[in-house]
């Protein structure tokens, strides 16, 4: 698409353009209007937002009014900002303006990404080599300190367990559910899928509350698991064989299975019926049809779901924070980072842990970019 549009837009625009724009030379007045407008809008928007934080009294301390002002200032500000950018750029000589306008449209988005993600990432790497309050560099001390710390290895092992178990089981459960719901009538399928999908909408905190109070409750009169097994175990404190971690993984799988189901079910529906028929005519049973015909054709979607859950699991924090706070050998690195930064107040070690997290994410990042490139190349 990119190459084709480049050749089609260029010849047509100059052919008609000059008629309306009179050769489109620089127009100093519009240029000034654009610049001044830009400055005024930016100044106003920034100050309105700052006033929301500094002087809530101006808004009668009304939260609803502040939210309204925020939405109006944000939307209106952005619309006007882009309008004046457009005025400014169109006043430039046409050749220049054609080249600049894409960047002008991208600058706000990239500015926010740079401010909120790229700059902090660099700064965090920077902090990782500094002391606990980021006032002096200490070389590799933080990394030495975390890698010789037994609790860091416990967390890393737990992360490995989460990474091995949760994505595979989520895909498996999602596939299982998708296979069976796919054979229901249309309305039955929709209904069953909605119920299985529902946990996806609730927060990790609410989900953890449900499972802690109603299922893993140590009181056998109140907790379903103890009631079923006739035991009175405090499940979330049982670290034999990392049982508590496994039980917390169940919660995440319960929440994510619906997501896997939706994507996989869509892919299964896309498998051409005649390939299935052909396999059946050749005498394949349903299991062979599934493993040798369906699965190879939906491999791309299986990978997508798998990678998405892997990314989620690497960052898993809320469930463990709420249920055990990392005690009984259940810590993970995202939570250890949090404890290091806010409980121990050691910014250096916390940053070093995040750098490890970042390194773990890196292969997935590379994989994503490569997949994207391959797709664009097609």
């Amino acid at each position: 698409m990119t190459a084709a549009s480049a050749t089609t837009t260029e010849p047509t625009a100059p052919a008609r353009g000059p008629v309306r724009r009179g050769g489109a030379p620089a127009r100093p007045l519009r240029l000034m209007v654009g610049l001044v407008g830009l400055a005024v809008v930016a100044w106003l928007a920034v100050n309105i937002f700052l006033s929301l934080a500094y002087y809530p009294g101006w808004y009668g301390n009304s939260r609803v009014l502040m939210a309204l002002v925020g939405v109006v200032a944000g939307l209106g500000g952005a619309a006007l900002l882009f309008y004046f950018v457009n005025v400014f750029i169109e006043s430039l000589p046409q050749r220049l303006s054609q080249g600049l306008i894409p960047y002008a449209f991208l600058i706000p988005a990239f500015g926010l990404i740079s401010l909120m993600l790229l700059y902090p990432a660099v700064q965090t790497i920077n902090y990782a080599f500094a002391n606990r309050d980021s006032t002096a560099y200490v070389g590799l001390d933080n990394f030495r300190s975390i890698f010789t710390d037994g609790s860091f290895w416990v967390a890393l092992t737990n992360n490995a367990l989460w990474l091995i178990i949760v994505p595979v089981l989520t895909v498996a459960v999602g596939l299982f559910v998708a296979l069976f719901t796919d054979r229901l009538s249309a309305s039955g399928e929709k209904f069953a899928k909605s119920l299985i999908f529902l946990p996806m909408a609730i927060s990790f905190v609410a989900a953890s509350t449900i499972w802690r109070e109603l299922i893993y409750n140590p009181n056998p009169n109140l907790g379903a698991l103890n009631a079923i097994l006739g035991t009175s175990n405090d499940w979330l404190r049982m670290d034999q064989g990392r049982l508590n971690s496994l039980l917390m993984m169940v919660i995440l799988i319960w929440m994510q299975a619906g997501f896997a189901m939706i994507l996989l079910s869509g892919a299964i529906k896309g498998v051409p019926e005649d390939t299935l028929e052909a396999a059946r005519l050749d005498g394949a049973n349903e299991r062979q049809v599934f493993l040798q015909v369906i699965v190879p054709q939906i491999r791309g979607t299986i990978l997508t779901v798998y990678i998405t859950v892997v990314i989620l699991v690497l960052k898993v924090f809320d469930i463990i924070y709420v249920l055990t706070n990392g005690q009984s050998d259940s810590n993970v690195i995202a939570l250890m980072f949090f404890q290091e930064l806010f409980t121990a107040g050691n910014a250096g070690r916390a940053a070093a842990i995040v750098v490890v997290l970042l390194l773990l994410v890196l292969p997935i990042l590379v994989y994503q970019v490569r997949t994207f490139r391959k797709e664009q190349g097609r």
């Binding site: 299985i196 319960w254 997508t304």
Partner: protein, 302 residues
Amino acid sequence: MSAAVTSAPAERTSNRQPGFMKDGRRRSWTSIIVATVLAALWVLPSLALFLSTLRSRDAQASVGWWNVFTDPLNQGWTLDNYTGVLQGQDMGASLLNTLVVSVPATILPIMFAAFGAYAFAFMNFPAKETLFVIIVGVMVVPIQVALSPMLNLLGPNGVGISGQFVAVWLLHTGFGMPLCLYTLRNYMSTLPFSVVESAKIDGASHYQTFWLLVAPMSIPAIAAFATLQFLWVWNDLLIAKLFLLPSNTTVVVRVQQMLGTQGQGAEIVTAGAFISMIVPILVFVLLQRFFVRGLTSGSVKG
């Protein structure tokens, strides 16, 4: 299943046979049974929470939630837990806070991302590929990376807005930006290029083309992202906990605090948790179509 039954009279003239569904496929009883069991299992925890919150404090502390099915008359049905949590735990104010956080944090990223997505979809410029690859990469970066530097930047030694709603709007706008750009650009790429082309020939500026043509046509993608982002912001614990003052805090943070308080009555915690779930469930039921579409397009295509 029920729809198949009710529409049966209309279909009677067709050659539909027992054991077959409306669309001609064979009815699979194994699938019906398995799917029913799975759906029941999946919905049971949420349903149990809801039913449990309607039981009296004594019932909740003495007998398990499954007794609502075996002994429904002796559960001391009551709404006291909800009045208790709304009054005693300031849940009403937290609910309002959560809306004040979520609505702007959902709307603001769209405006900024939409123009960028337009540039990616309809314009040609050097470095286009590289810039978009950056977006694809940044989507994977965990937000933990940003927390400590952003606390310094927005905190009292920096801009001094940490603790206020503005700080959280800004953070969610920034963190939601890569996904929003990605989703909108992918959708806009599927729109016919000729539309933009003809607008350009008619002398429309890019700004006009965006507003009059591309933005209205992109509504499905915008709705999909908005649903996803709204649920994400509503359910977020980390940013709300770190960047909001206690008086501005959200329901999810309140529930987390209740869970952490030793000796807090379970009936209060469960009622609080259910209150925090009402809005997401409503959004889910009403906007499920957009939510699914958002998830499908937002999960990076393999």
